[in-house]
């Protein structure tokens, strides 16, 4: 193994180059999923890594939060492609995440999409997915087969030409050309609360990739999503890596064309041979204000990219033995306007309902729940929320936003529960407690501008600018995280692999 830290020299601008070993091989800023995955892989390669997290708790969007004795999820609800041979299997195996208590969602309908009074099932397995929907839309069987073929193609991220072509194709136009029945476009898009549907900008690649892995196989955790971060952190520490919370980076100091150290707001200075930022790129650009390598034109173009919308979440604690556990996700829409309901005024027009696997559930070796009777204890309801809906409180902080903000959240939560009750029978009467969060909450806890749920918005008509490289103009600074190549658990993991790949290239080139 080449060790960058022992060979890096530090020019002092006076003609002398003094060998000054860095404290770490790689310093990773931000402990979201991408940052922790990079740290895990690098530590497993024998690198000396440190992760700097500004918040008191690591994990970013995978962290859980505790209220009233219950732990709730911030962003993680389910994941696709964990079976052998599927896109996430090998990566999660390498990261030690397959040992977590994953539960396989219902094969016959892991996602159920209700539009108005009609319900449809999205089934696991590519052939079954086609068969189940073709039963409802017999004239569209061939179109469904073309759709599934495109989904599978998008999984092959190594095919750069195909990826680029799909990245420059408008998802909405492709779907409406492929399917004759617009209701079916709404149905196959119906489980897309995990991305921002936007007719005028969403690339086909992003759409297919975010939906595809789940058709292969779909899973959720027993317990909260914080187990992912906890597992990664446990491994990183066992391998000698460090995780430091409460260390907010405010500047990256450049010397002789490379980042030399990260300066934290508590005065801590961390010197490393390589740096990875798992923080939103626009925030990262603020640390590079004095950089000669990252010119103004680069920093401005990154900082100006628009972000995807945020989410409003209602975390519901249920009264005991009132709602049966359901092993799938429910997506509910008042009308067949899945792609733009969130832009319309009026009560909540669409949402996702995720049911937490009870802690006492039994899981067999294949990930199936074996209990014959199981009651839910918690559910999460999610719906998009635009920044404009919370902008009037943008200068406030957590817990101090005022009564009108609380009233807005209460009204929204009631609308969500009313709509969710159309598919989760008895929900209205089963609510024991609720906790809500808005894009403001996400902004303040995860340091994401505008509380964006999925980071920088990809635009098929401007793919070159919105599909960011993991490289930066500073050779020893890399980027990772959901704003880069792809978002979601799968996307962030693929991006982390790409980031670490670039680091390896640098080691190999020395």
């Amino acid at each position: 193994m080449t060790t960058l830290s022992s060979t890096q020299s530090n020019s002092h601008g006076d003609g002398s180059a003094t060998a000054a070993p860095a404290d770490y091989d790689v310093a990773i800023i931000g402990s979201g999923l991408g940052g922790l995955e990079c740290a895990h892989i690098l530590a497993s390669q024998g690198r000396r890594v440190i992760v700097l997290e500004r918040w008191r708790q690591p994990g970013g969007c995978t962290q859980g939060y505790r209220r009233g004795g219950y732990v709730f999820d911030t962003g993680m609800h389910y994941v696709g492609g964990l079976d052998a041979g599927q896109p996430l299997h090998d990566a999660f195996n390498r990261l030690g995440l397959l040992r977590l208590p994953w539960v396989r969602l219902d094969a016959g309908g892991f996602d159920r999409v209700t539009i108005g009074r009609q319900s449809f099932r999205l089934a696991q397995g590519y052939d079954r997915f086609v068969d189940v929907l073709a039963a409802d839309f017999p004239a569209e069987r061939e179109a469904l087969e073309r759709y599934v073929a495109a989904v599978r193609q998008s999984d092959n991220v190594g095919d750069m030409q195909m990826s680029r072509q799909m990245m420059e194709t408008n998802a909405w136009e492709w779907l409406t050309q492929n399917f004759s029945d617009e209701l079916l476009v709404n149905v196959v898009s119906g489980a897309s609360m995990k991305l921002e549907l936007r007719k005028e900008s969403l690339p086909l690649f992003t759409f297919l990739h975010c939906n595809g892995g789940y058709i292969g196989s779909a899973w959720r955790l027993r317990g909260d999503g914080g187990q992912i971060a906890a597992s990664l952190i446990g491994d990183i520490r066992r391998m000698g890596g460090e995780i430091v919370c409460g260390a907010e980076v405010v500047e990256l100091v450049e010397d002789d064309g490379r980042i030399d150290e990260a300066v934290c707001n508590d005065g801590r200075r961390v010197r490393a041979a390589m740096f990875i930022s798992d923080v939103h790129p626009a925030v990262t650009m603020q640390w590079l204000r004095g950089s000669r390598m990252a010119r103004g034109v680069y920093r401005r173009r990154i900082a100006m990219l628009p972000d995807t919308f945020g989410m409003f979440t209602v975390s519901v604690v249920l009264k005991p033995r009132t709602v049966r556990y359901f092993n799938h996700n429910e997506y509910v829409y008042r009308n067949a306007d899945v792609w733009d309901f969130y832009t319309k005024k009026g009560p909540v027009g669409g949402l996702m309902v995720s049911c937490r696997v009870p802690e006492d559930a039994h899981i067999d070796a294949s990930g199936n729940i074996t209990d014959s009777e199981l009651y839910a204890t918690q559910i999460d309801i999610l719906t998009p929320m635009l920044w404009s809906e919370v902008a009037q409180w943008e200068s406030t902080s957590v817990g101090r936003r005022g009564d009108d903000y609380k009233a807005m959240k209460q009204r929204r939560a009631e609308e969500c529960i009313e709509l969710a009750s159309t598919v989760v029978k008895g929900l209205s009467g089963a609510v024991k407690e609720i906790y809500t969060s808005t894009p403001l909450t996400y902004r303040d806890y995860t340091n994401t501008p505008y509380g964006s749920a999925f980071g920088i918005r990809k635009d098929y008509s401007n793919a070159l600018m919105t599909q960011l490289s993991v490289r930066t103009p500073v050779p020893n600074l890399m980027l990772t995280g959901q704003s880069l190549i792809l978002h979601g658990l799968q996307g962030v993991t693929m991006t982390a692999l790409a980031t670490v790949g670039e680091i390896s290239k640098q080691y190999n080139n020395r």
């Binding site: 680029r164 420059e168 010119r295 034109v297 680069y298 401005r300 008509s461 070159l464 490289r471």
Partner: protein, 80 residues
């Protein structure tokens, strides 16, 4: 915008953003060489054209733009 105005705007903007002497920009000059662009900073060029002229350049089109003349032509054809 006339072609002359486009040429003037492109040259002055690129000279400033990419920190080169404007006199080094000539119609037949190779953009990548004159502005010292690699694959990453090539996207900076796309961004400057986007913000200055409200034109989005797809990957395929970018491949065909080699000289400053090619860029003037492209902007002239696509400017609204």
């Amino acid at each position: 915008m006339t072609r002359e105005e486009i040429i003037q705007k492109v040259n002055s903007t690129l000279a400033e953003e990419f920190e080169v002497d404007e006199s080094k920009i000539s119609p037949e000059g190779a953009i990548k060489d004159v502005l010292s662009l690699d694959s990453l900073s090539l996207v900076d060029l796309v961004a400057v054209v986007n913000y200055t002229f409200k034109i989005k350049i797809p990957t395929e089109d970018l491949r065909k733009i080699e000289t400053f003349n090619d860029l003037y032509d492209y902007i002239e054809q696509h400017a609204k």
